[in-house]
Amino acid sequence: MARLVRLVDTSRRISGLPGVLISRSAGNWNKDWKPGPYPVNPEDRAAVARKYGLRPDEYKPIPDDGLGVGDYPDLPLVTAESRDPYYPWDHPEHRRDFMEPIHAEYDMYGLDRVNASQKLRFSVTQQFLAFMGVMTFFVGTYYLMESRKIHWPLLPKQYPGDGKVHYTFEKPE
């Protein structure tokens, strides 16, 4: 592996071209982005709040469950799609401002993802029940009637002999 990397590196240096990229990290990473330790005493909290550009009374860290969120603030989720499209955002493609503190999972709720924070006229449960109700009604009735299919007779019934009564349905003597 190391030889391969060295080879690619040399080829890049010799040719002056970008060379073959065999591996790269998916994104840039910066140590400034790493959240600090979970703040315990009020002074820490105030300092952290200033770091995230929040007022000390607004700042509320995500509860520390040992999974490394650190001092990141617990902010309400306002997804990109439910933000005002007419506001002059600094990053209009993400609908966020520069240095704006955002929800920890904001990248999960971009414009091309779900709008999780929208106010629905009918809740998802209501919609699901309405859809399932209609479907159950139709499909259920259909399968109830499956044994009694209908068919229109195309001709009057024909019996041998014209006008002769074959079965009188009287009690046999």
Binding site: L67, G68, E105, M108, Y109, L111, D112, R113, V114, N115, A116, L120, R121, F122, V124, Q127, F128, A130, F131, V134, M135, F138, V139, T141, Y142, Y143, M145, E146, R148, K149, I150, H151, W152, L154
Partner: protein
């Protein structure tokens, strides 16, 4: 060079030529009744032979001919429609790739080689839906491809099941599939349902209208969405007398009804037509599940003609009213663009089954055959209502956009003097008028014997007339100072948004899976995998290497300890 400049004309000519060739070959095949199968055996493995098969019978050749003629018209049409676009060549190549994968789909009777075309259709349709690069298209494209992916996976599972047969040629094997092949039938039904957007999967078809209009005319009305019906037609021998038939019947009838209702409350011009496509797909699949696959094929062909025409008219209208698709922004177009409006009316009448237009021969026959057969009452009821609803939404469309008051923002370039667009519609216009009768003479040399009582015979006509009257009068009345739909808000919203299906299959599903992925990442990636994987291995290795390190110190104490342990072990073992 000349290819780059006039790509659309050259490909149009080529496609028309291809259409002529395949069409005349299809005529020969109908006459002779011969089916040609071309097979290349690629390799054979463990008794199962992997072959690449092309089937050339009248069904595939006729379908190919229709695909070619529609795509030729659409390509010529998009020469003007997409003229202002920067990446016109990309569009052209995508459409040609679509035609190619469609031909693979149509010509292969083999489950593996059909997957090639089937996946190609999904991929190209995704690329065409996201052709415009806004978020709306991206989301619609995602919905399209993920819904179609369900069907692709079903076909893959079907391939796995069929491998026990040693061959994947369902054209032959479908005659010998009894009840023990139920699972395969279910898989193929699911794949047909996703491609043809039947009920649990129908959200993608209206969403796919984010594609450019020529794409909608070719892909989402006449060819791609009928791929599912085509697969079922090929597979129809296996469906005969199985449980699938009754299930497919109720699902397709419900789709037909739901789409008809939805189109009556929809405001987007293209989505109305998409919902009407959905309704007609329901008609095709329902008559197929009643056991008349030739009628389904007949309706597939005639529907392709007038639905492509309808979309092309909609494209001209959208172009000339300045990008708007909302029918509330239109009105009284008949004064400004008479030619387009007359084409649109022809297509609409054909869709409604106006006597002696294209739709009349197929749709009327389908309904009469359905009335004649032993049928479930619910299915019959849905048939009748959906027929009425078809005429109803057509008249609503006519009321809103073609007649009525002028409702537009500006008077700019409202005309149909774009001859490239109007000329390319002429073939399809002819097809919408004559297609049905010609096809019915061609496909059915012996007539279907329809034997119905007078009331039932007139039923279709009566329901259509009633639906048309209701559509026009209700709109006339409901467009009122006191809007009725506000008073029935809940039901109107439910019907207008396709029984909440789009929202349920987008928001609900993706939100759930996103949250699930987030939890998995938290618990697995950052949790247990980290604990036992990264950190755990680090701990383990550091312990092991600590011991190994101490060995390398050459300390006499360590060696003595080790030899002591060895001696003890030997003593225990030797006892």
């Amino acid at each position: 060079m000349i290819w780059k400049i006039s790509m659309n004309e050259i490909s149009m000519l080529g496609l028309f030529l291809g259409s002529l060739i395949t069409g005349s070959l299809a005529l020969l095949k109908i006459k002779s009744g011969v089916m040609d199968v071309v097979e290349w055996e690629l390799f054979s493995l463990m008794g199962s032979s992997i072959v690449f098969t092309l089937v050339l019978d009248w069904i595939s050749l006729l379908f190919m001919s229709f695909v070619f003629v529609i795509s030729g018209s659409v390509l010529s049409y998009s020469g003007s429609y997409m003229a202002g676009d920067k990446t016109f060549n990309r569009f052209m190549y995508l459409v040609l790739a679509f035609v190619l994968s469609m031909s693979f789909m149509v010509l292969s009777p083999n489950l593996i080689s059909i997957l090639l075309g089937w996946d190609g259709l999904g991929l190209v349709s995704y690329a065409l839906v996201i052709y415009y690069q806004n978020e709306k298209s991206a989301n619609a494209g995602m919905l399209t491809i993920l819904s179609n992916r369900v069907g692709d996976v079903a076909i893959l599972l079907g391939i796995g099941l069929m491998s026990s047969l040693g061959s994947w040629n369902f054209l032959f094997y479908s005659y010998y599939m009894d009840e023990s092949w139920m699972l395969l039938k279910i898989f193929l039904m699911i794949s047909a349902m996703t491609k043809s957007a039947q009920i649990p999967f129908s959200a993608w078809l209206p969403a796919a209208m984010a594609a450019p209009t020529p794409v909608s005319a070719l892909v989402h009305s006449s060819t791609l969405v009928t791929a599912g019906v085509y697969l079922m037609i090929r597979f129809s021998a296996a469906l005969e007398g199985s449980m699938i038939q009754s299930f497919l019947l109720v699902i397709s009838c419900l789709t037909m009804f739901m789409a008809g209702l939805g189109a009556n409350f929809e405001y987007d011009l293209k989505k109305i037509i998409a919902l009407s496509t959905l309704s007609q797909l329901g008609v095709m699949l329902s008559i197929l599940s009643l056991g008349f696959s030739d009628l389904a094929f007949f309706h597939l062909l005639s529907h392709a003609l007038f639905k492509a025409l309808l979309f092309m008219c909609a494209g001209i209208i959208i172009h000339s009213v300045g990008g708007y698709q909302d029918i509330r922004f239109m009105g009284n177009l008949v004064k400004f663009m008479p030619l387009t409006v007359s084409y649109m009316t022809i297509a609409n009448l054909a869709l409604c089954g106006f006597p002696f237009m294209a739709g009349f021969y197929s749709k009327d026959m389908i309904l009469e055959v359905a009335f004649m057969s032993w049928i479930n009452f619910i299915a019959l009821l849905l048939y009748v209502m959906a027929t009425g609803l078809t005429v109803m939404y057509t008249f609503r469309l006519i009321f809103f956009s073609l007649t009525g008051e002028y409702n537009l923002g500006s008077l700019s370039n409202l005309s149909d003097e774009d001859f490239l667009m109007t000329n390319s519609m002429s073939i399809l216009g002819l097809g919408a008028i004559l297609g049905g009768s010609v096809l019915s003479w061609m496909l059915f040399p012996e007539c279907y014997m329809i034997c119905l009582s007078g009331v039932m015979k007139m039923m279709v006509l009566m329901v259509s007339i009633l639906g048309g009257l209701m559509g026009y009068i209700l709109n006339f009345m409901s467009v009122n100072y006191l809007l009725k739909s506000i008073y029935n808000y809940k039901s109107v919203v439910m019907m207008g948004s396709m029984w909440f299906m789009p929202l349920l299959s987008t928001l609900k599903l993706s939100e759930k899976s996103l949250n699930m992925g987030f939890q998995m990442e938290k618990v697995a990636d950052k949790g247990w995998f980290e604990f036992y994987g990264g950190q755990g291995l680090y701990y383990l290795f550091s312990q092991v290497f600590f011991i190994l390190n101490s060995l390398q110190l050459n300390s006499i104490k360590v060696f003595m300890k080790m030899s002591m342990v060895m001696i003890i072990i030997f003593m225990i073992l030797s006892m």
